[in-house]
C-alpha cells in the first residue's frame, strides 16, 4: 500500500477502468511481500546453462526447475504429481501413455503451453545435433536410440506426438516403469519452438534468452555472473502456491565464506564442511539434505587380475570402517552404505521400507579386520601372488580427497596390501575410469530417477559404467528379467532387483562406501523447501520465508 503504488496509478490514468483492478492487485501483492521475505540461497558453482536439452550441472537443474514445470513435478515426499499434465492413461502392455494437458497454462511471454511444446522439446533433446548429455534418459521411447545414433534422421519418428493442443501421446519400444518418475526432470520440460528458433544458439545462455513455464522467471543472468535473481512468474497457472516474490541465488565457492555470510544473516542457506558440522550440530538451522547418491569403489579386474578373486574383493570391503568414514571423516555428509544402490531412492512395494534398507544383507558389507586379513591371505594364495600394490584413483573434490586419505590408511592395515593415491581433477577421473585406466577408483553415482534400475543396471556386464569389469551371469539374468519378463509387475520386478543387489553385496562387485547427503544451514524461518534426492537438489516452488 506504500511506495510502489505510484506506477500503477500513473497507468490507471490512461486506463480508468483497468486502473482500479490493477491498484487492487498491487495492494494485495504488497501485503504478501510484507508477509513473506525474499530468500537468498547459495550454490557452490555458477549456473552454466538454462537450456533443458543441454543441462548437466546440479545448479542448472535447480534453475530450470525453478523456472519450469514438466508434465509432473515432484512433491515434498518426492512423489511425482501431475503439473502441466492433468491426468494420464497407460495401455495394459505399458507401451502407450496418453497425457491430458492442463488448459490455460501459459509461457511467461503469454503464449499458451501446448502438447507441441513437449514434442519439440523432446525431439530437440534427442536430435544428435543438440548433443544432449541426458538424451540417454529417453532410451526406450520409440526410436529414441535410433535418432540419437543417427540411424533415424527423421525426428518426427520419435515416439511422442501431439494429438491435439492438450493431448500428448508417448509410445515406447519397451515398458519403462521409471517414465513417470523421470518426467519432473529438466530434459523432459516443454520448449517453445517459435522462441527457441527465434533466439537460435543463444537459447538458454542468458536470462533474456529463456522462457518460463514454471513458478519463477529468471532475471539478471548474463551468462557468467554470480548473482542471479528469480521473481515470481505471474503467468504461472499455479501462481497462488508461490509465496516468495524474490529469490536470489549467489555463487559462493568457499565454504568458510558461506558460513560467515550465513552467520551475518546475508544468506539463508549454506552447505557445511565436516568441521563446521562438528561445531554446529546443536544449531537449530542444522539440516541434513538427503540425496539418492552413493559412493563406492570400483575394482578394475582388467588391470589388477587379483581383483577377479572374490576373496580379495571381500577382504578390501571388510577392511573399511564405514561408520568412522561417515561420522568422523565426512561428518554430516554421509551415512555408512550397506548396498550399492543409494538410500532415499524408492520404497519396497510390499511394505514401504526404503529399498536400500530392505535389500541389505546382514554382515555382508561391514567392518571386520580379522576377517579381511584372513580372506586376503586366502585370496592371495588362490591367485598365487605374494603381495598386492594398488593405486587408488580419486578426484580432488573435498569429499573424495578425505575418503581417499582415510581409505588408504584403512586398507593398509591389511598385511601385504599397499595403496598409493592418485588424485586428479573431476573430469579426468571420469575419463580415466571410463577408459578403465585405474586399479581402484572412488566413484560417486547420483540417481537419475527414482527406480532401482538407475543403479543396478550400471553393473550389467555389458554396461559402459561397469568400469571394474565385474561379470556375473546370474546378475545379468536378474537384471534382464527385471527389465523384460517382470517389467509390468512391480513386486516381481522388485524381487529381481533385490536378489541382484544381494548377489552384488555378497560377491562385492563394487565396494559400497557411503550414501551421500548434504549438511547445511537452512534458516529456520525458511519453510516449504523441497529437496529432490534425484533430479534438482532444490525446488523453491513452495518455499517462503517468514
Amino acid at each position: 500500500m506504500k511506495k510502489s503504488i505510484g506506477k500503477p496509478l500513473a497507468l490507471a490514468a490512461g486506463f480508468m477502468l483497468a486502473g482500479t483492478v490493477l491498484a487492487q492487485a498491487t495492494a494485495s501483492a504488497d501485503e504478501e511481500e510484507g508477509k513473506y521475505k525474499p530468500i537468498t540461497w547459495a550454490e557452490n558453482a555458477p549456473l552454466s546453462s538454462m537450456d533443458p536439452s543441454k543441462v548437466t550441472a546440479a545448479i542448472d537443474f535447480d534453475g530450470l526447475t525453478a523456472t519450469n514445470d514438466g508434465l509432473f513435478r515432484a512433491d515434498k515426499n518426492n512423489k511425482p504429481q501431475p503439473a502441466l499434465a492433468e491426468s494420464y492413461e497407460v495401455s495394459d502392455d505399458g507401451l502407450h501413455y496418453t497425457f491430458k494437458l492442463r488448459k490455460g497454462a501459459e509461457w511467461s511471454n503469454g503464449t499458451p503451453i501446448t502438447a507441441n511444446d513437449f514434442v519439440y522439446g523432446w525431439q530437440r533433446t534427442n536430435d544428435p545435433k543438440t548433443a544432449s548429455q541426458y538424451a540417454y534418459l529417453f532410451s526406450g521411447i520409440k526410436n529414441a536410440d535410433a535418432i540419437q545414433n543417427g540411424k533415424e534422421k527423421d525426428l518426427s519418428k520419435l515416439g511422442v506426438k501431439a494429438e491435439d493442443d492438450h493431448t500428448l501421446k508417448v509410445d515406447l519400444e519397451k515398458p519403462l516403469p521409471q517414465l513417470i518418475s523421470m518426467l519432473p526432470m529438466a530434459p523432459f520440460f516443454p520448449q517453445n519452438e517459435a522462441f527457441v528458433k527465434e533466439v537460435g544458439a543463444k537459447y538458454g545462455t542468458q536470462s533474456k534468452y529463456i522462457l518460463s513455464s514454471g513458478p519463477y522467471v529468471q532475471q539478471d543472468w548474463n551468462g557468467s555472473n554470480d548473482t542471479v535473481t528469480y521473481k515470481k512468474n505471474e503467468k504461472y497457472y499455479d501462481k497462488d502456491a508461490v509465496k516468495t516474490k524474490k529469490l536470489t541465488i549467489k555463487t559462493i565457492a568457499d565454504q568458510n565464506t558461506g558460513y560467515n555470510l550465513y552467520k551475518s544473516d546475508t544468506l539463508d542457506f549454506t552447505t557445511l564442511s565436516p568441521q563446521q558440522v562438528t561445531a554446529s550440530k546443536n544449531d537449530k538451522a542444522f539440516t541434513t539434505i538427503p540425496s539418492a547418491t552413493a559412493s563406492y569403489m570400483q575394482l578394475n579386474e582388467k588391470q589388477v587380475p587379483e581383483f577377479k578373486n572374490t576373496n580379495i574383493r571381500r577382504a578390501i570391503s571388510y577392511a573399511i570402517d564405514r561408520k568412522i568414514l561417515a561420522d568422523k571423516i565426512l561428518t554430516g555428509s554421509a551415512t555408512p552404505a550397506t548396498t550399492f544402490s543409494a538410500t532415499k531412492l524408492v520404497e519396497n512395494p510390499n511394505d514401504g521400507e526404503d529399498f536400500s534398507k530392505s535389500v541389505t544383507v546382514d554382515g555382508a558389507v561391514t567392518h571386520d579386520l580379522d576377517k579381511a586379513q584372513e580372506l586376503f591371505d586366502k585370496g592371495l594364495k588362490e591367485t598365487g601372488s605374494k603381495d598386492l600394490e594398488i593405486e587408488l584413483l580419486a578426484d580432488d573434490s573435498d569429499g573424495a580427497k578425505r575418503s581417499a586419505e582415510f581409505l588408504q590408511s584403512q586398507l593398509q592395515q591389511i598385511d601385504g596390501l599397499k595403496v598409493k593415491i592418485k588424485m586428479v581433477p573431476f573430469k579426468q577421473r571420469i575419463s580415466l575410469s571410463a577408459d578403465k585406466k585405474f586399479d581402484m577408483v572412488i566413484s560417486l553415482w547420483g540417481a537419475d530417477y527414482a527406480d532401482p534400475s538407475t543403479f543396478l543396471d550400471l553393473y550389467k556386464s555389458d554396461s559402459p559404467f561397469n568400469e571394474g569389469s565385474w561379470h556375473n551371469d546370474e546378475y545379468d539374468a536378474l537384471i534382464d528379467r527385471a527389465n523384460g519378463e517382470h517389467v509390468n509387475d512391480p513386486k516381481k520386478r522388485f524381487a529381481d532387483y533385490k536378489e541382484a543387489e544381494q548377489l552384488m553385496s555378497k560377491e562385492m562387485g563394487v565396494v559400497p562406501l557411503y550414501y551421500r547427503s548434504q549438511a547445511a544451514f537452512v534458516r529456520p524461518s525458511v519453510k516449504g523447501m523441497v529437496y529432490q534426492p534425484a533430479g534438482a537438489p532444490y525446488d523453491f516452488k513452495w518455499a517462503y520465508k517468514e
Partner: protein, 340 residues
C-alpha cells in the same frame, strides 16, 4: 749551531732491516671477502638471528626424518581427531581443553587418550599428530624450495653468464627469450605445466623454477657485462685462458654474492608460491603435506580449531621473515659500498 756538532754517532740508533714493511702494516687483520662479509653479517643483529632461526628450522625438519616421515605422519587414529594442543604440565593453551559449539571440555578425556600421551600441536581431523605433520610439511616445503633454487642456480646462472659473456647477437636473442618468458604470469606457466605433469614435489619445484630463473639470469648477465670490461678479465683473455676457465675461475667467484642473495630470495618465494597453489588445489598432493597444504587445511577449520592454523602459520612466517631478513643482511654485507 754549535750544538749540532756535539751529536755523536752514539746518539743514533740502527733501525731494523724490515723497517719499511712494518711501517706499511695495517693494524686490522687481513680478511678474505667471505670473512669480511661474515663479520659484517654478524653485526646485523636481525640477519644473524634469522640465520640461526633458519638453521634451527632446517635442522629440525631434516633431523626428524626418522620421527616424522611419509609413513608416520600418515598414521591415523580417527577416534582422536581434532584434539587441541596438550603438553606436559598444565600450561594455559596447552592443557587439552577446548570449546566447541558453546561447550568447554577436556578433549583428551573425551577421546580416551592414554595418560601421558601428548600432542603439543594437537591433532588434525584424521587424528594425526600436527607436530609431526608440521615437521614433515616444513621439510617438503623446503625441499620444493631447494630443488627450485638449485634449478635456478644451474640454469639461471649458466644462461646469464653465456648471455653476458657472448654479447652481441647471441645476447640479444637470449634476452628476447627471457623477455618473452617473463611476460607470461608465473601462475599461468605453472598451471599449464601441472596440467600435463603428474603433480608432485618435483613437478611443483620445476614449475616454480621455470618462472624464477629469469631474474637470476638477468642479474648474472648484468654483472658479467660489467666484469667483462675489467682489466683482470682482459688479462686472462690475452693470456689465452679458455672461456670456460675464465667463467669458472674468475666470473663465478665474482658473482657469487649476487647468486647467494638471489637464492635467499628465491627460497622463500618458492615456499610461498607452493602455499598459494595448495589453496587453489594444485599443490602437493595427498597424503603428502607441505606447509601450504597444512595452512589450507587449517584455514578451513580455524574458527573451530584455531591451533590447526596457528602452528603451521607460525613456522611459515618465521621462515619467510628469516629468509627475507637474512637476504637483506647478506646483500648489505656483500655490498662494498657499505664497507666500514
Amino acid at each position: 749551531m754549535a750544538e749540532l756538532n756535539q751529536v755523536s754517532a752514539a746518539d743514533f740508533e740502527l733501525l731494523p732491516n724490515d723497517r719499511k714493511r712494518n711501517n706499511e702494516t695495517i693494524e686490522k687483520p687481513s680478511l678474505s671477502f667471505a670473512q669480511d662479509a661474515w663479520r659484517r653479517l654478524k653485526k646485523n643483529k636481525g640477519a644473524f638471528i634469522s640465520l640461526w632461526v633458519i638453521v634451527v628450522i632446517v635442522a629440525a625438519a631434516f633431523i626428524s626424518i626418522p620421527y616424522a616421515n611419509t609413513t608416520t605422519t600418515a598414521e591415523q587414529n580417527v577416534m582422536q581427531q581434532n584434539l587441541p594442543p596438550k603438553a606436559p604440565g598444565n600450561l594455559p593453551g596447552f592443557n587439552g581443553k577446548q570449546k566447541v559449539d558453546g561447550e568447554r571440555f577436556d578433549a583428551y578425556k573425551r577421546a580416551d587418550v592414554k595418560k601421558g600421551e601428548y600432542h603439543i600441536f594437537g591433532t588434525d581431523q584424521f587424528g594425526r599428530d600436527i607436530f609431526k605433520r608440521v615437521l614433515y610439511g616444513t621439510r617438503v616445503s623446503l625441499q620444493v624450495a631447494l630443488i627450485a633454487a638449485l634449478m635456478d642456480l644451474v640454469f639461471g646462472v649458466t644462461y646469464g653468464m653465456i648471455s653476458g659473456w657472448k654479447g652481441g647477437r647471441v645476447d640479444m636473442v637470449m634476452q628476447r627469450i627471457v623477455e618473452i618468458i617473463s611476460s607470461v604470469p608465473n601462475l599461468v606457466v605453472f598451471v599449464l605445466l601441472i596440467l600435463i605433469m603428474k603433480p608432485g614435489l618435483f613437478s611443483i619445484a620445476l614449475g616454480i623454477a621455470l618462472t624464477s630463473w629469469t631474474s637470476m639470469s638477468r642479474l648474472i648477465r648484468a654483472e658479467v657485462l660489467s666484469l667483462k670490461e675489467q682489466d683482470f678479465i682482459s688479462a686472462a683473455k690475452t693470456l689465452g685462458t679458455s672461456p670456460w676457465k675464465i667463467g669458472l675461475r674468475h666470473l663465478v667467484p665474482n658473482v657469487s654474492s649476487t647468486i647467494i642473495v638471489q637464492l635467499m630470495f628465491t627460497i622463500p618465494s618458492a615456499i610461498f608460491f607452493e602455499a598459494l597453489l595448495s589453496f587453489i588445489g594444485i599443490g602437493i598432493p595427498v597424503p603428502m603435506a607441505s606447509l601450504g597444504t597444512l595452512l589450507n587445511d587449517g584455514q578451513t577449520a580455524f574458527q573451530f580449531y584455531p591451533y590447526q592454523l596457528v602452528f603451521p602459520a607460525l613456522i611459515l612466517s618465521a621462515l619467510m621473515i628469516a629468509f627475507n631478513l637474512l637476504a637483506d643482511g647478506l646483500r648489505d654485507a656483500f655490498d662494498p659500498r657499505t664497507r666500514d
